[in-house]
Structure formats: C-alpha cells, structure tokens
C-alpha cells in the first residue's frame, strides 16, 4: 500500500519543486550557518591569528606608538626556558591533579550512592548540583569570607572538630595552605559535574547486564570491577578531560580567592598570563604565552571531542 505522502512527493519533480518553493536547500544551509561562522571568525579566529602574529613581536599594548620589532621565536624560547613559568606550570599541574582526583573519587561515589535509587534522590541531586551553576567569581569571593583568618567559618569548624586553635593558621595566608584552599573550593564547586556525568554512565548500564553477570556467577565485587567501572569509564573520561581543560585555564575563582598569592603559591599559568599581559603590558611576550596555553587546550579539546562522539554513539 503506497504511502499517500510518497504519491504527493512524486507529483512534483524535485528540481521544479525547489524553484517554485524558493531557495534551494543548499542556499538555505549557507544562509543559516554563515552568521555563526562569521561571528566566530571575527571574535575568535581573527584575534587568534592576531595573537599568533603578535607572539613574534615585542609589541606593548600600553605603548601603541612605540616601534614594533620582529623578534622571531625569541618569545617562545624565553618562555619555554623560564624556570619561573615552568614552576607556575607545575603549580597548575598540582591544582589540576588534586582537583581531578578528588572530584572523581567523591563524584563517582556520590553517583554510585544516588544510583541506589533511594527515595528523594532526585531532590538531593538537584540540590547537590547548585554550586556548579554559580558564578565562579562570586564563589571565589564569598569563600574568601569563609576562609577569613581567625574569624572565618572554616577556621571555626576546624577548631571545633580538631581542637587546632583557629588563630593558629590561615587558609589563604602564608603557611602552605593556600593551594589546598583553592583545591577545596574547586572540588566543592565541580564535584557535582563529575557526579552528574557518572550518574548518566551508571544509568546507561541496563539491569539485564547485571542479571547476566549474576547468572554467570560473578560476585558483586567482580561485577563492580568488570562491568560497572569499564562501562562508566568513557563517561568518566569525558568528565576528567573537561575538568582538566577547564582547570588548566582556570582564572576567575582563583583570581578572586588568592590572586595567585601568597607569594606565587597559587599562581596558576592563566593568572600569571594575565599579569604579563594586563599589568606588565608585555603584549608580544604574553601572546606567545597565550599561544602555548591555547595549543595545549586545543590538543586536549580534540581528544575531548573524540571522547564525546564515542559516548554519543552508545
């Protein structure tokens, strides 16, 4: 029985139909896509190319009339042999590794618990997610209040539970706690992100897979390691990559919480870059710095997109 729609479609030859109905699909496709591409070219790609160009010069934005000299790859070689910047990179790595480790452990555990499907888990999930949606800048700002030396909530709670006097340490001051303070805030803020993605991963495992494993005489422990973990892993990868990229370029929260200090204990590369570019006005030099960060993020982003497509196919 032929479909009435098919018959109607055959009544007008496609080419004619297109002419009658106005623009061809191809033209429409271009009209629809072009503004987006144009905007991105203007505000992302053009500046990027400009940055690349600047990165080979000694240009300084606060002296627009000074003579601009080509310096070849000297900016790059200086950055890549600078032990200070290298140490900011390792500071960033420290921040990155610990936030990811903590967020994965807590986030996965939470997701695993929520997946027990107890009553009210939807409500709790929604509440847990709130910190992640807030403005990182405002979050950084109000945590400075919680971290206030002597009078802050955090110091009080530590004293309350451990007896260590609140006046004896400062979360953001000297004494080596500052890196951990930013790790705590980042973990507080972004654990829900990892949790949500893990939860999606856990929920993507159909019940019958566990039933099959049960029949196949696998213990709960074995089921966890041979089924739950490997099947959630692609999702977890996604979360880790995304958090990695985000924290590699982390600026807002940390800038407000510590501004890189004390000393340069929490001087992440992006904050260092901001100082070079907008305080010391070494535009050429910091352009090279920016390109190095950009290429790293872009490399990670391409792996991320690959992971994204892999998860999407499931």
């Amino acid at each position: 029985m032929p479909n009435p729609i098919d018959i109607a479609a055959k009544a007008t030859p496609p080419a004619l139909a297109r002419k009658v109905r106005g623009l061809s699909d191809r033209t429409i496709a271009w009209i629809f896509v072009a503004p987006t591409i144009f905007l991105l070219l203007a505000i992302n790609i053009f500046p990027l190319i400009w940055t690349i160009r600047l990165s080979f010069t000694n240009y300084a934005a606060n002296k627009p009339n000074a003579e601009v000299k080509w310096v070849g790859i000297r900016n790059y070689t200086r950055i890549l042999t600078d032990e200070d910047i290298w140490s900011h990179m390792t500071t960033t790595a420290h921040f990155l590794i610990w936030t990811i480790v903590l967020q994965v452990i807590i986030g996965f555990t939470l997701a695993w618990l929520i997946n027990r499907k107890f009553k009210g888990n939807d409500l709790l999930t929604t509440l847990i997610v709130v910190p992640m949606m807030l403005s990182p800048a405002v979050v950084g700002n109000f945590w400075t209040f919680l971290y206030q030396p002597q009078i802050g909530m955090v110091n009080y709670i530590v004293e309350f539970f451990t007896g260590i006097p609140a006046a004896s340490f400062s979360m953001l001051g000297p004494g080596g706690l500052a890196p951990w303070s930013i790790i705590i805030v980042d973990t507080w803020m972004w654990t829900p992100f990892v949790m949500l993605i893990c939860l999606a991963g856990l929920r993507s495992i159909p019940d019958y897979i566990y039933e099959a494993a049960e029949v196949d005489r696998a213990s709960k422990w074995r089921q966890f390691w041979t089924i739950t973990v490997p099947m959630v892993l692609p999702f977890l990868m996604l979360a880790v990559l995304f958090r990695g990229i985000e924290n590699f370029k982390m600026f807002d929260m940390v800038n407000l919480l510590t501004g890189g200090g004390p000393g340069d204990e929490t001087l992440l590369t992006s904050i260092d870059l901001k100082r070079e570019a907008f305080e010391k006005w070494r535009t050429g030099y910091s352009s090279a710095y920016a390109i190095i960060l950009f290429v790293t993020v872009f490399g990670l982003a391409s792996i991320y997109v690959k992971a994204l497509n892999k998860v999407k196919e499931r």
Binding site: T296, G299, L300
Partner: protein
C-alpha cells in the same frame, strides 16, 4: 599490535588518531612535570605536533 602497524601504513584513522592522542597527552605531561627542564622546553613542540597530526589524521578513512 600488528593491526596497529598495518593501520599506520595504510593511513587508517584509528591508529593514527591514537598516536596523535598519545603525543598530545605526552606534551601536556611534559609541560607540567616538575622534574626535567628540557622536557618542559620541548613540550610545546610535542603538543603542537600531536594536535596538527590529530587534525590531519581525523580526515583519514576509518
């Protein structure tokens, strides 16, 4: 392993993408490790190579 090598030789996407991914990851690790200055110095080139390779090889046939 042998399928990986033949994949490389025949310009298949999978193994080349894997190689590019490894290069990028290696570059990132080199950039942020606290042990060797030379590794930090060369990290950018490794990441750049991996990224360029990724862009090219993602157009290879499956």
């Amino acid at each position: 392993m042998s399928t990986f090598l033949t994949g490389l030789l025949r310009f298949r996407r999978g193994p080349w993408e894997l190689l590019a991914t490894i290069l990028i990851a290696l570059g990132v690790v080199m950039l942020m490790q606290p042990f060797f200055l030379w590794a930090y110095t060369w990290s950018f080139l490794v990441t750049l190579l991996g990224t360029v390779m990724f862009i090219i090889t993602s157009h290879f046939p499956e």
